[in-house]
């Protein structure tokens, strides 16, 4: 299967005064449809820059970031904007620009132009229900817990039915139970929805739910580890089928 996202030896540098800061060094990474890839890295390891390159928000200083076989850097600004509306979902806990929106409006906002407000809200409510955040439909962002905000952010990305989800630290500040719920949701988005999912987190327990595990350190992505002997070391305990 062709990778959905393909980073080929990407590097990224910024100028900090006279000094060149090399944030990413020669990073290569593939995400296939239906695959959940987790990148582990502490603060300052280059995680967010990696995700920005993957989502096409920034261009690499060298190397190529391909989405569905197309070099993201070669696309026109409007084509890239459309990609972000339709095909690449970005998940972070940022929330809406205007604080007064109920979540059914915020989550559906990106669909208003194409399907109209009534249908957009209907789909938004369905997306919220799908992630288990139906209670948030009429709430404002400011009143939501961290967990609910994460779920809303995932719903906001999923409502557009993207092909790739790029997720920045979804588990920060969550309890163990909520963390598993959120990461389990991302895994099923990949497995059941066929999406490619790229997630970066600073905590290893969240990584166990990913199909592919990488570690980013000092701007370098550690080479993929040899696959585990049988590939079957994942043990499902009773109750793991519990839905989010």
């Amino acid at each position: 299967m062709k990778p959905l996202l393909q980073l080929e030896s990407v590097s990224k540098s910024y100028m900090r005064g006279p000094r060149e800061l090399r944030v990413l060094k020669d990073v290569s990474l593939d995400v296939h449809p239906g695959e959940f890839v987790g990148v582990y890295g502490q603060r300052g390891s280059g995680k967010t820059t990696l995700l920005h390159l993957a989502a096409g928000f920034e261009a690499p200083s060298s190397g190529v970031a391909n989405f569905d076989g197309r070099n993201l850097a070669d696309l026109s600004r409007s084509r890239r904007a459309r990609l972000h509306r339709e095909e690449i979902g970005w998940v972070e806990r940022a929330g809406p620009q205007s604080a007064g929106l109920p979540m059914r409006v915020y989550v559906g906002l990106s669909l208003y132009r194409t399907v109209g407000p009534a249908k957009a809200q209907q789909r938004a409510v369905a997306a919220l229900a799908k992630v288990g955040a139906e209670d948030a439909a009429d709430a404002r962002w400011s009143s939501l817990s961290d967990t609910a905000r994460t779920l809303v952010a995932i719903a906001e990305a999923l409502v557009r039915q993207p092909r790739l989800l790029v997720v920045d630290d979804p588990t920060a500040g969550l309890s163990i139970i909520d963390r598993e719920r959120v990461v389990g949701l991302l895994r099923s988005a990949a497995e059941d929805g066929g999406l490619g999912v790229l997630m970066a987190v600073p905590d290893m327990p969240a990584m166990l739910h990913a199909h592919e595990v990488r570690s980013l350190s000092r701007g370098r992505l550690l080479a993929p580890a040899d696959p585990p002997p049988s590939g079957g070391n994942v043990v499902e305990f009773p109750g793991s089928e519990r839905s989010a």
Binding site: P205, L208, N233, V235
Partner: protein, 195 residues
């Protein structure tokens, strides 16, 4: 080995379910493989436990024979053993000590060993992440649910500890790699510039 009481490991296994020597060894290895248990240890421990009166031979000899033809001895915990086990559970636990070979290498190294140390630390980081990919995926959210068998829940929590330990090690390795690299760089800069 840390101060873990292997006596209580065997006693606990017998409280779970009566058993004979080889069966206990298998069970101990599958649950406590990281202790590096020797073949002999179970038999010695059984003797000690019996002397203490914490276990006893189960009367029936109908459980088959060992390969050498001797009757297989089934053991079970006595009420005194159960009481002693309960006390052990309630006793403050000794904390494990991390004994990583790299610590010793760091301790004993000289400045000109830094490039090799860096390579070794990087390799160890890679191995840790490779290990991560082999770990089970516990669902800790189910630990609190009474219908989940307690032994499953306990195994999940132990796995979680191992995982957090691994994370701490990876974070430490990343940190020292960064510092060693910086030191190598600054050292070569100061060596290269005229005094």
């Amino acid at each position: 080995m840390s101060g873990l009481s292997t006596k209580h490991v065997v006693l606990g296994l017998l409280i779970e379910q009566p058993g004979y020597g080889y069966d206990l060894l298998k069970r101990a290895r599958s649950r406590f493989g990281y202790l590096g248990l020797s073949d002999n240890f179970v038999y010695k421990t059984l003797e000690r436990l019996e002397e203490d009166g914490f276990i006893e031979e189960r009367g029936d000899k109908s459980t088959g024979k060992t390969r050498r033809g001797a009757p297989r001895v089934m053991y079970r915990a006595t009420p005194l053993g159960r009481e002693n086990f309960k006390q052990w559970i309630a006793t403050p636990s000794e904390r494990a000590v991390l004994r990583d070979e790299l610590q010793a290498k760091l301790n004993l190294s000289e400045p000109d060993d830094l490039p090799e140390l860096l390579a070794v630390a990087e390799e160890q980081g890679r191995e840790c992440v490779a290990e991560l990919a082999t770990l089970r995926r516990p669902v800790l959210a189910t630990v609190a649910e009474p219908e989940v068998p307690w032994h499953h829940a306990a195994v999940m929590m132990v796995d979680d500890l191992n995982l957090r330990w691994l994370q701490a090690l990876v974070d430490w390795l990343n940190a020292i790699c960064e510092l060693i690299e910086e030191r190598i760089e600054l050292t070569s800069e100061s060596a290269g510039s005229p005094p």
